[in-house]
């Protein structure tokens, strides 16, 4: 059954709730405070997101203490968080790590970690990318030492770990004798060191992680390549939804500014130069919405082409958000280039989320392979 793109009243309610919360707790002032904090997010807000809104465990089943929601609710949450530029380990913990655990981890680990994550008590990060610059699964070369045993050791590096500096648990994607597996390394583990990466986008913290003979527990059984491909697809689709939220917000900002800024006695939005730019942004934002909605409605419906739709979404939304954020700076003129105005915050988020998990060209290539072009 193809997706019908209908949001139910419950969906609309969820969106309203999230938006209202974020308007209060993730306004520009809050974002700037988080940006310049060491941790990178407001622990109090995270707690509320977990306890009051149940968002932290959004896609974690109720049996594991989560809200048990699906991909459409995830779409709504990400869109709103992108809109508000929320600084929080949501993508890393609630989407990437939770989904990796749900998809790849053994029951015992799920039972232990998922409730902790849902409660907001545990930040979990997937250590995926390596310094070789690749985003595809074939690029994973970190190899766990020893074979057979459930405890092994790691020696090597992972990078661009989402909120890796703050994580209580790292879920490390590495090669074992069984293939690609998920390993668990706890925060205090021997030989584990983590360095914050000074990021282009201050609203999302990244860390470099290195392992020196670090003990790690195997928490998946057998090769996870196929499962992990779907985990990555969900992360990309969620990120695309976040990009859509951001893109819509910068369009709104640009339009607001174009209405209120007067030059030569007229609102600048009355000039076709600006008006047509806004119209083009609108077209591109609507198309981006189609891409992200298609991916996440597809995920919700368990469509067999979900991985393909996710690639399409990440490819299109990455470029659409970046262009929209760049045009928003342009429409704001000199003001748009200042630190004190908001446009650059979105611009940096847009660029960073374009690069994260593979840029548009990467995903177009994946898509072309799927479609058979």
């Amino acid at each position: 059954m193809p997706a019908d793109f209908v949001f139910t009243d419950e969906h609309d309610e969820l969106r309203k709730t999230v938006r209202a919360f974020l308007q209060r707790r993730s306004d520009e002032k809050a974002v700037r405070a988080s940006m310049s904090s060491e941790r990178g997010y407001d622990a109090e807000v995270w707690k509320q997101l977990a306890e009051e809104l149940g968002l932290v465990g959004l896609i974690i089943p109720e049996e594991h203490g989560g809200a048990g929601f699906g991909a459409i609710e995830l779409l709504i949450a990400m869109e709103e968080m992108g809109r508000a530029l929320l600084c929080a380990p949501f993508l890393g913990t609630s989407v990437f790590a939770a989904n990796a655990l749900l998809t790849c981890a053994d029951g015992v680990t799920q039972k232990e970690l998922l409730p902790k994550i849902a409660s907001g008590a545990c930040i979990a990060s997937v250590a995926y990318a390596e310094p070789n610059g690749r985003w595809d699964l074939a690029g994973i070369t970190l190899r766990a030492k020893g074979t057979g045993s459930s405890v092994t050791t790691l020696e090597g590096e992972k990078t661009l770990v989402l909120d890796g500096h703050a994580a209580h648990v790292l879920l490390v994607v590495a090669r074992t004798d069984a293939g690609l597996e998920l390993l668990r390394v706890d925060a205090g583990a021997a030989g584990l060191s983590r360095t914050s990466i000074p990021a282009l986008d201050l609203t999302r913290k990244l860390a470099h992680v290195s392992f020196k003979n670090t003990p790690a527990t195997r928490i998946s059984s057998g090769d996870q390549t196929a499962s992990f491909e779907r985990v990555l697809a969900l992360v990309c689709a969620a990120l695309a939804a976040e990009q859509v939220g951001g893109a819509q917000r910068v369009l709104d900002m640009a339009v607001e500014y174009a209405k209120s800024r007067l030059q030569f006695g007229r609102p600048i939005g009355s000039y076709q130069g600006i008006k047509h730019k806004c119209a083009e942004m609108l077209v591109s934002v609507e198309m981006a919405k189609s891409a992200a909605y298609n991916a996440l409605f597809g995920a919700a419906a368990n469509e067999p082409d979900f991985v393909e739709s996710a690639a399409l979404a990440k490819a299109f939304c990455s470029e659409a958000y970046f262009r929209a954020a760049a045009e928003n700076i342009q429409i704001h003129g000199g003001m748009g280039f200042t630190w004190e105005a908001a446009p650059h915050l979105y611009f940096k988020r847009a660029k960073a989320s374009e690069l994260l998990f593979g840029d548009a060209a990467h995903h177009r290539e994946a898509l072309a392979n799927h479609v058979g072009l």
Partner: protein, 408 residues
């Protein structure tokens, strides 16, 4: 129309069966059958009884079609040349014409006996249709019309035309227009094919040289022409919108994919092949997103919350289509330099084309996508102003007598 009652479905299907008992499509030609269909009130079910309808919800038209299809292998659909009359002419006649005119025209329109055309655009009034300058001057019981219309499809086949002309140049432009129905066989009307860059003429130019129209053929009052024209145009939108949901990868993009997959091996270097593949992929994405956006538009409409999805489609589609066919010609490479069909100037036909020839034809034809039915510049104004709420450009033609507005 939304508040028209629905008829009991069985009753409606019964009426269709009665029609079929009187005249069966498998044994009756299109004109004769459709005349009968009109008489039974099954032409436009939302029209009043006695005028080809039953005064019921237009949604139920589908039941009529369904019931006919059930009982007949032959279905007499709207004849292609008659769609303008059926879709736009009839509702305008129904709303504004006299009872005698309705009784005369509606059955002839529906049966396809009379083809109708729409004559609004003029060479000097493209985006600014209301700025048109064809003139009608009153002479006794007649009006005498001089001027020119353009982009008139099926004019060369038409018995009647919907015509809007200026009857008062001394008032602002929208206020000085009147609307007529014109017998296309009237002396002084001449129709010439308008050849396009494809070499084909899908449209005509129509010239008026002292053409007489009886005052009785004015629809609406003198000076109300714009309002009547809006009725016509609203029905154009209804007619064009709501295209069926295509499947993923279906439609025009499948032609590009076909061309891509049939490319000459070795014609492109490996690197150029990679880049061309990426262009094809982008076009595939664009087309897929257009398809999804149209689904979203329908979903939003259904749920009663129509968003901007619909409005962006026209603008997006123009660019996407133009791009797609550019890529197609580039994929053809050397073969893109040939135009197999040749450019013999002729009226547009519906002959089949090979996918290669189609690509070149569409490459040319698609250039009009960002012009016809509202240029992309006008569409951006509409999106900017009506959807985003941005202020308009300063207007120099408002509240000024038409004759004082500068024009080319």
């Amino acid at each position: 129309m939304a508040d028209l009652r629905e008829m009991n479905e069985a009753e409606l299907r019964g009426r269709v069966q009665k029609l079929l008992a009187e005249a069966h499509p498998e044994r009756t030609d299109s004109i004769a059958f459709r005349r009968k269909q009109y008489e039974h009130g099954l032409a436009w079910v939302h029209f009043p009884e006695g005028y080809g309808g039953l005064g019921i919800s237009p949604k139920q038209q589908l039941i009529v079609l369904d019931e006919i299809s059930k009982h007949s292998k032959v279905v007499h659909h709207d004849p292609p040349a008659a769609t303008i009359g059926i879709g736009m002419g009839a509702p305008t006649v129904l709303t504004y014409a006299s009872d005698a005119q309705k009784k005369y025209h509606l059955p002839r329109i529906f049966s396809g006996e009379d083809i109708w055309c729409q004559m609004f655009s003029e060479p000097s009034a493209g985006s600014d249709v209301a700025g048109l300058s064809s003139r009608a001057v009153r002479d006794g019981d007649d009006w005498i019309v001089n001027g020119q219309k353009v982009w008139t499809s099926v004019a060369h086949l038409s018995s009647w035309g919907m015509l809007i002309v200026r009857t008062d140049p001394d008032v602002p432009k929208h206020d000085g227009l009147s609307y007529f129905i014109l017998d296309m066989k009237s002396p002084g009307v001449s129709v010439r094919p308008l050849y396009q860059i494809t070499g084909e003429a899908e449209f005509n130019e129509v010239f008026f040289d002292n053409v007489r129209i009886p005052n009785a053929n004015m629809l609406g009052k003198e000076g109300q022409g714009w309002r009547v024209a809006i009725t016509t145009l609203m029905n154009e939108r209804v007619a064009i919108g709501g295209g069926g949901a295509k499947k993923k990868g279906a439609g025009a993009i499948s032609q590009l994919v076909k061309l891509w997959q049939a490319r000459k091996p070795g014609a492109l270097s490996p690197a150029q092949e990679v880049m061309m593949r990426d262009r094809v992929t982008r076009s595939w994405m664009d087309n897929e997103l257009l398809r999804i956006t149209s689904q979203r538009a329908r979903a939003a409409q259904k749920s009663g919350n129509p968003g901007p999805e619909g409005s962006v489609m026209k603008l997006a589609q123009a660019d996407i289509n133009k791009h797609m066919w550019e890529i197609a010609v580039d994929v053809l490479g050397q073969d893109g330099l040939a135009f197999e069909a040749g450019y013999e100037l002729r009226q547009s036909g519906f002959e089949g084309r090979s996918v290669e020839a189609l690509a070149k034809y569409q490459f040319l034809r698609s250039r009009a996508n960002s012009i016809e039915g509202g240029t992309s510049e006008i569409m951006k104004n509409i999106l900017g102003e009506r959807v985003l709420g941005l202020p308009g450009d300063p207007r120099v033609d408002k509240d000024v007598p038409w004759k004082d507005v500068p024009r080319s």
